[in-house]
Amino acid sequence: MKDTPSHSHRRACLRLVLGLLAVWFSVSFGCSILFREWLDANAPQVGSAPFGFWMAQQGAIICFVILLVVYAVLMNRLDAKHGYTEDQ
């Protein structure tokens, strides 16, 4: 497959999406479900809340918001880099 601008753009997007999904998975399923008990026991507390519990009820949601902000900023930058800007 030849390396046209649209292909390199698509690859870069895919890398970004996979990276964000990895973070998404680790904060929600990882910290808050699979490794919660270990984290509750061993990780430093957040205020007076056990770490895993706090991640499940507060931390994960905060991370989700940050993820979407990062996505919007980086994707718009990627689009601009590959010449797909749109007038606002």
């Binding site: 649209s6 753009h9 698509r10 997007c13 999406v17 964000l20 999904l21 998404w24 929600s28 399923f29 808050s32 479900i33 699979l34 919660r36 509750d40 957040v46 205020g47 007076s48 809340a49 056990p50 519990f53 706090w54 499940a56 009820q57 507060q58 994960a60 949601i61 905060i62 989700f64 918001v65 993820l67 979407l68 902000v69 996505y71 919007a72 994707m75 718009n76 689009d79 797909y84 800007t85 749109e86 606002q88």
Partner: protein, 606 residues
């Protein structure tokens, strides 16, 4: 001025605003009717989507669920917010670029098949219908409490209001009313929480209060530690640990997340903004606005639990706070003096050999019928008596519905009357905004996907909007009917069902349609059918037939089975598509094209 007057004033003002906005921004063309003409600002769309997303059930019962099950309730908190991450980075920017007004439109065109479109239309209608029934019921319950009318008239009044501005205003009308409704909801939810956080922990922010010290009882103790102690003392599971198994927690959270990303009424919201980069921005705002409420819910839940137990456990009934009697009157709380000591005892399942903490037989309290004598109606301490058989296997005496946590919170904390009035207005806003959004998707599915694309392709623009209005009227009539005659606990079960269905049908079909050029018609249809049938069958077997929990597949409850259904969908789709011909060149080019973000133009319906 009494509480009722204040309620009337707050709700009256909020209604005047909604209807004023709806009239001012009513839709003229099909484009405005379906997608508000594609010119809504990302911020406004974010607020509107958040209001659309948070239903009356979320608004009223979520904090109660958290209070009751502690850590276990995190599955809802994460499921219904984490789904937006999937939705935003995998779905909506591409679907927006594809440029069609509805989700079945994408499925039909991408899989070049009327059958696929038909399956998608049926799923969309089913999902929205189950949802909207619950909303109409919610509106009816709130109205009936508020104005002292029957639930039936409450549902009908609510239906009339929703029809007025969703049916007439179209997407444009509801988008701008939802902006106003979000503001009402956000204030109504957070203001009581702030007051309570200050009273219990001395912190202004409820989220900080949750992780700091409890100061209301003299010396300061870590708040969650106090809650854990209360819970274990009374025989409940530790608040921060919960009792769901890890695999169940995983599957349910995953099903809720993927379901969220496949819900048609959420996806179409993002067709109202100008272009792909605005979609991304709008999604950020949406999740931020949702997070405001979802981050407050765990705090409200935890505070309410401490408040409730401190105020009621081991208190004598005659000296119990006034709101206990009020909630007894409305049937949301009940007390049976099992040990005849005149005091209220609240205990969890591990305080009895039987391992339950049911106060009485049956799920809800029932009361003696009209002809009963005074002795059957009122107990010797003045409590309202129940007609249910008493469950004597355990010492727990106090029953309350999940819904009272949010509604009773301001009472428990002794907050001013206007806060309670605001909460009522917020609750109605939550139900109306979701019902309106769903109604619109329903009417679009019928008029556009069913009438125009399948049955009557030569429909003109004007006729299509007329059909949409007729369809929304009919859909609402059905929803009102089921709101008045709910199929008993059917609604709660079918909402979980809607998520399972969305996760096992739409989510994989859309995802593969966007990211795999090779996925063809045969694969997608086979996958959707297998996914739905499996999920459908599992839920029907365990919820409506005589399946017992020990027959669960790997211990997964019907709530989480949508995740397994989704995996089946993926596997079947890939297998079938590997042995059948690739999709036509035109479709492959189309898939190529939706990954190029620019040039999306305005959302069209042609």
């Amino acid at each position: 001025m009494t509480q009722d007057h204040l309620n009337f004033i707050f709700i009256g003002i909020s209604f005047a605003i909604y209807i004023g906005i709806a009239i001012k921004s009513r839709a003229g063309s099909t484009k405005e009717y379906y997608t508000a003409g594609g010119g809504v600002s990302p911020l406004a769309n974010g607020m509107a989507t958040a209001a659309d997303w948070m239903s009356a059930a979320t608004f009223i019962s979520m904090a109660g669920t958290v209070a009751l099950s502690g850590y276990d309730a995190s599955r809802f908190l994460m499921g219904w917010t984490g789904g937006f991450v999937l939705l935003t980075i995998l779905m909506v920017p591409y679907l927006r670029k594809f440029n069609k007004a509805t989700v079945p439109d994408f499925v039909g065109d991408r899989y070049y098949s009327k059958l696929a479109r038909g399956v998608a239309v049926v799923c969309a209608i089913f999902i929205c219908m189950t949802y909207i029934m619950g909303q109409m019921r919610g509106v009816g319950v709130v109205f009936s409490q508020l104005f002292g009318i029957s639930i039936t008239s409450g549902v009908i009044i609510g239906g009339a209001i929703v029809f007025f501005y969703a049916g007439l205003g179209g997407m444009k009308g509801i988008t701008y009313t939802q902006v106003a409704q979000y503001c009402v909801m956000a204030f109504a939810y957070t203001i009581p929480a702030i007051f309570i956080a200050m009273a219990l922990t001395g912190n202004v922010l409820p989220q900080i209060g949750l992780i700091s010290d409890y100061t209301a009882g003299g010396e300061a103790v870590p708040f969650l530690e106090k809650l854990n102690n209360i819970n274990t003392e009374l025989g409940f599971a530790e608040y921060t640990s919960g009792k769901l198994s890890t695999i169940n927690m995983f599957c349910i959270t995953a099903a809720l997340m993927c379901g969220t990303a496949g819900l048609p009424h959420v996806i179409v919201r993002f067709f109202t903004v100008k272009n792909v980069s605005a979609v991304r921005k709008s999604a950020c705002w949406t999740l931020l606005f949702i997070a405001v409420i979802y981050l407050t819910a765990p705090a409200i839940g935890a505070f309410a639990r401490v408040n409730l137990i401190e105020k009621l456990h081991d208190a004598s009934y005659q000296e119990a706070p006034y709101w206990l009697k009020e909630f007894e009157e409305t049937g949301q709380m009940a007390w049976i003096d099992k040990n005849d000591d005149g005091k209220i005892q609240y205990y969890g399942p591990s305080k009895s050999v039987a391992g339950t903490h049911a106060v009485f037989q049956g799920k809800k309290p029932s009361y003696p019928t009209l002809g009963a004598t005074d002795g059957q109606l009122v107990g010797k301490h003045g409590q309202r008596l129940l007609a249910n058989e008493v469950d004597t296997s355990n010492p727990n005496e106090l029953w309350f519905g999940n819904d009272i946590m949010v509604m009773a919170n301001p009472h428990m904390a002794g907050l001013p009357m206007w806060v309670i009035a605001l909460l009522m207005a917020g609750c109605i806003a939550a139900a109306l905004s979701t019902a309106a959004g769903l109604l619109l998707v329903l009417s679009t599915s019928i008029s556009h996907d069913l009438m125009k694309r399948i049955l009557k392709p030569d429909l003109s623009d004007r006729e299509e909007v007329r059909y949409a209005r007729i369809a929304s009227f009919l859909a609402l009539a059905v929803a009102v009917y089921f709101g008045i005659n709910p199929p008993s606990q059917f609604i709660a079960k079918t909402v979980a069902f809607a998520f399972g269905l969305a996760a096992s049908s739409f989510f994989p079909a859309l995802l593969m349609g966007i990211f795999s050029k090779r996925m063809n018609r045969e694969g997608a249809i086979a996958g959707m059918l297998c996914g739905i049938l499996f999920t459908f069958g599992y839920i029907i077997y365990f919820q409506f037939l005589d399946g017992t929990p020990d027959q669960y597949l790997l211990g997964i409850t019907p709530e989480g089975i949508g995740f397994v259904g989704m995996l089946i969908n993926f596997v079947v789709a890939f297998l079938v598509s590997a042995f059948t011909p690739a999709p036509p060149q035109k479709v492959q080019e189309m898939v190529e094209n939706i990954h190029i973000p620019s040039g999306s133009g305005e959302a069209s319906h042609h």
